[in-house]
Symmetry: C2
Subunit: 318 residues, 2 copies
């Protein structure tokens, strides 16, 4: 398969992105190709700096960059030669199978919605990994793409998360929970109360009920659904505590699994292609893992499975 990497995006680009690609290419199968998308001259000089033969990559020249603070929609229109715009062109024309970037997330989202939306999906969303105490992997979604979510949107997130957990993390019949402030039905705010009602007898996923903030790392659920406002605050709070632990030299094998570098990012779920976004501060290790995640999401044929599931769901609703 062919993975496109936005070399220009992120706080430490192009050094970290190129170093990450170098780490990844060594571990990828020889059937897999990484396409570096960015300023060709800069890429060549950086590869030379790292003593790397540039022919192990494909390079697509993109002279322009969308900055982290730029307005997503405007930037994508005004900068057709940016690495993100060119990445989406390559994806659309099937020159690459997956596109990964740690650049402007908003621009990546706009790119997805413009070029790869799936009919029936109300809102694409993004995810993070919750390291379970028992060694397993939980998924939290949404983590900030949609600040306000209607109950129907949370219902669809459950479908998206269930398929992601099943096909990328190989979890059989993932347990789906709703992030809430009490365990019993009827607890919560108006949105989660209504979402619980929609979810409780769902034929589309294996709903196990409400999950409280104290149970995020337990094995009660494999996928925990929430609106992007709550998810973003929870994620950043977890990161803050983890960073404080690192700073104070208080980690161990379990807590090291809180390091975002291990996961590399999140697919944008609910679109008709394989697009992966990562943390703006991504290190080379994080970039490497983002490339692996791109491969896994594509190999799992996730977007096809989501399309099929959403069609089933919509046909039932009719």
């Amino acid at each position: 398969m062919i993975i496109g990497l936005d070399v220009a995006g992120g706080d430490f680009a192009p050094d970290s992105t190129i170093k990450g690609a170098i780490l990844a290419v060594r571990e990828l199968s020889c059937d897999d190709t990484i396409v570096l998308i960015g300023d060709q001259e800069l890429i060549n000089s950086k590869l030379k700096e790292n003593d790397i033969d540039h022919t192990i990559f494909e390079i697509v020249h993109a002279p322009d960059t969308i900055g982290m603070g730029e307005h997503p929609t405007k930037a994508l229109v005004q900068k057709p030669l940016s690495s993100i715009a060119i990445g989406f062109d390559l994806l659309k024309n099937k020159k690459i199978d997956a596109f990964a970037s740690v650049g402007n997330t908003g621009a990546m989202l706009v790119g997805c919605i413009t070029s790869s939306s799936i009919q029936g999906i109300l809102r694409p969303c993004t995810t993070t990994v919750l390291p379970k105490e028992n060694g397993g992997v939980g998924i939290l979604l949404d983590i900030g793409t949609n600040a306000d979510c209607k109950p129907e949107v949370l219902y669809q997130f459950a479908i998206l998360g269930s398929l992601y957990s099943q096909y990328v993390y190989n979890i059989h019949k993932p347990k789906i929970g709703l992030l809430n402030i009490g365990e019993e039905e009827g607890k919560g705010n108006l949105v989660t109360q209504a979402a619980f009602k929609l979810m409780k007898n769902s034929p589309d996923f294996n709903f196990v009920g409400n999950i409280e903030g104290r149970d995020l790392f337990k094995d009660k659920a494999d996928v925990i659904v929430c609106d992007g406002f709550t998810g973003n605050i929870v994620l950043k709070n977890i990161e803050a505590m983890f960073r404080l632990m690192i700073k104070r030299n208080l980690t161990d094998e379990y807590f090291n699994r809180f390091n975002y570098e291990n996961y590399g990012g999140t697919p944008i779920l609910g679109i008709d292609s394989s697009v992966i976004v990562g943390h703006g501060i991504s290190s080379a290790k994080a970039i490497k893992n983002m490339i692996f995640l791109s491969r896994d999401v594509h190999n799992a044929k996730l977007s096809g499975k989501i399309k099929k599931a959403i069609n089933n769901y919509i046909n039932k609703e009719k």
Copy 2:
């Protein structure tokens, strides 16, 4: 001053509540009295077990108990001889200056709203302490009393939190932040976007802007305002990570400050009396600190200051 303690409430009552009262009484000034409210015979036998002369306390007999799982409103009406109902009677008749309980929080809230509401306060709320990296104390509110909050309610929480921070934690001109998913104005969900507009030029408190989940333990704000849904999930998530750290022997002087036992609970803010609620699992140490918090809240004349501030605010609005 006279502090009433619900001896019957909590998961480890009456042992932990009585032991906590014994710890507290040794450190209180001789002008302060603790009134133990619960089954008199049981209290006397527990005091004897602990070799304590029962005359160092006042005891008010309350033969009945409201269980943790009971319906708050029904229980308060149906159990007039419960420790919580009698506690509110004592408070109403000025036989005690403050009332503290780790029992059924819902019943405590109903008791407050029935007997001590302040005209103009839209919703009372509850708080938690955020241990700042710099050694200071941050306040997060609401932590679960109000799952859905209108912008006006968040605005009032800012007033309540500001006075609490100033008069109980002695923070001069507390910095008030709004918990949100981005720093700039315009970020957030519909409620926080509208709340920001109300708060930004407030004459009622010192608003410093949005605070992200990653900044909860920094010195950006002294009081962080959010709806009770978000606050409850954040609080429980922090507790979950802290418990995992304890379990894995990964704490230090800073992280030990995450132990709820150090704070003993929260006043119910926005009512016309001094009522303190604590964690159901409270240990003797937590009970002791809840009694000290009751003293501090009463001595700060917090409810009077809140009444005055809310009156000012309402008169301006007219």
